[in-house]
């Protein structure tokens, strides 16, 4: 490996840019690949394999035409940003931490966003749009909105929809979702943007309690993260 390649690899990792290091195991020839930064090409076997390896977060070996390539993957850390330090955020932040996510909670209401209610969780009490901009959701970030208050949810949602976050979920009934979609349309977000929002949030497992709802949300986040289409 050249020092230049190592420097670029570390720079990509610091920039939270998903990257694969491809090595020809016989010759030692190497290059970096950012397989999600261009459309999937079914004829490009290395790109396809690198996408799969990054999605599965697991290194892979690829044999093509008598050559043996090793694909090492470097993903940014998984993050979950919860907007709303409400009851449901408590079990959700715990489950997400168990699943390996760095959790941040945004809520300008300091009575809700208190270290007493959320020990050990990164709390951000700026207004949600400024807070979300500061956190900068990337391709390994999930965002869940749970305030039930458009005044807080919508500013965060506007910033999130302009980010490459892999999952965006919003709590609320079908009626609440319809009202949200109408507001977003009025704010200039097209159908493609609006379709990124999962709502009602979570997989339909009949969840009732806050902890059960947290399980259903975490299940949907996991399903999205691990699906090849992500």
């Amino acid at each position: 490996m050249t020092p230049e390649l190592l420097g670029q690899l570390n720079a990509d990792r610091a920039a939270k840019r998903p990257v694969a290091l491809i090595t020809d195991l016989e010759t030692g020839d190497q290059f970096l690949l950012h397989p999600f930064e261009k459309p999937a090409d079914p004829d490009d076997l290395i790109q396809i394999a690198a996408r799969k390896a990054l999605v599965e977060d697991r290194a892979a070996k690829l044999e093509i035409g008598g050559k043996s390539f090793f694909i090492n993957v470097f993903n940014p850390p998984l993050r979950l940003i919860i907007v709303g330090a409400v009851h449901i955020a408590q079990p959700l932040s715990q489950i997400a931490q168990l699943a390996g996510y760095e959790v941040s909670i945004i809520d300008p209401r300091t009575a809700f966003a208190s270290a007493e209610r959320f020990p050990g969780i990164h709390l951000v009490t700026e207004w949600p749009d400024a807070a979300m901009t500061g956190l900068g959701p990337d391709t390994r970030t999930a965002v869940v909105l749970v305030t039930h208050d458009p005044k807080l949810d919508d500013p965060a949602l506007h910033v999130t929809l302009r980010s490459p976050a892999f999952y965006i979920g919003a709590l609320g009934s079908k009626k609440t979702q319809a009202a949200r979609m109408a507001r977003l349309e009025a704010a200039g977000f097209d159908e493609t943007a609006r379709a990124r929002i999962r709502g009602p949030v979570g997989l339909n497992i009949g969840a009732k309690s806050p902890a059960e709802i947290a399980v259903s949300i975490m299940a949907e986040i996991t399903q999205t993260l691990r699906s090849e289409a992500a």
């Binding site: 190592l6 420097g7 977060d57 697991r58 090793f70 090492n72 940014p76 850390p77």
Partner: protein, 110 residues
């Protein structure tokens, strides 16, 4: 592998060792069979004096890997090492866990 659970950053360490003028090689687990202790993608950095950080196994083959890494620093050639396979290679070492591991060793730099 994912940076999610990285407790020691091997690649950043490699870069800082280089910056400090040390000659460095990198060892990476590229294949495992059976009950290998470290997943593929796991890495270890080694310098010309045999100092190392990171791991490619539970500790059973690190000594042999360090030797090969130091040789790679000297001659600049990459190496593909198989452990736990019954052959007569000089560096072949059995794995207590019964697994097999393939390690790619490369010098950083020309």
């Amino acid at each position: 592998m994912s940076d999610t659970n990285a407790d020691q950053d091997i690649l950043v360490t490699a870069q800082s060792w280089m910056a400090a003028g040390r000659r460095v090689a990198l060892a990476t687990v590229v294949s495992t069979w059976g009950s290998a202790p470290r997943p593929t993608g796991s890495q270890m950095v080694v310098d010309a004096d045999g100092r190392m950080m990171g791991s490619v196994s539970g500790g059973c083959i690190e000594g042999a890997v360090v030797e090969q890494a130091m040789a790679a620093i000297d001659d600049g050639k990459t190496r593909l090492l198989d452990f736990g396979i019954s052959d007569d290679q000089a560096w072949e070492v059995g794995l207590a866990c019964g697994g097999k591991i393939q390690i790619f060793v490369e010098k950083i730099g020309q």
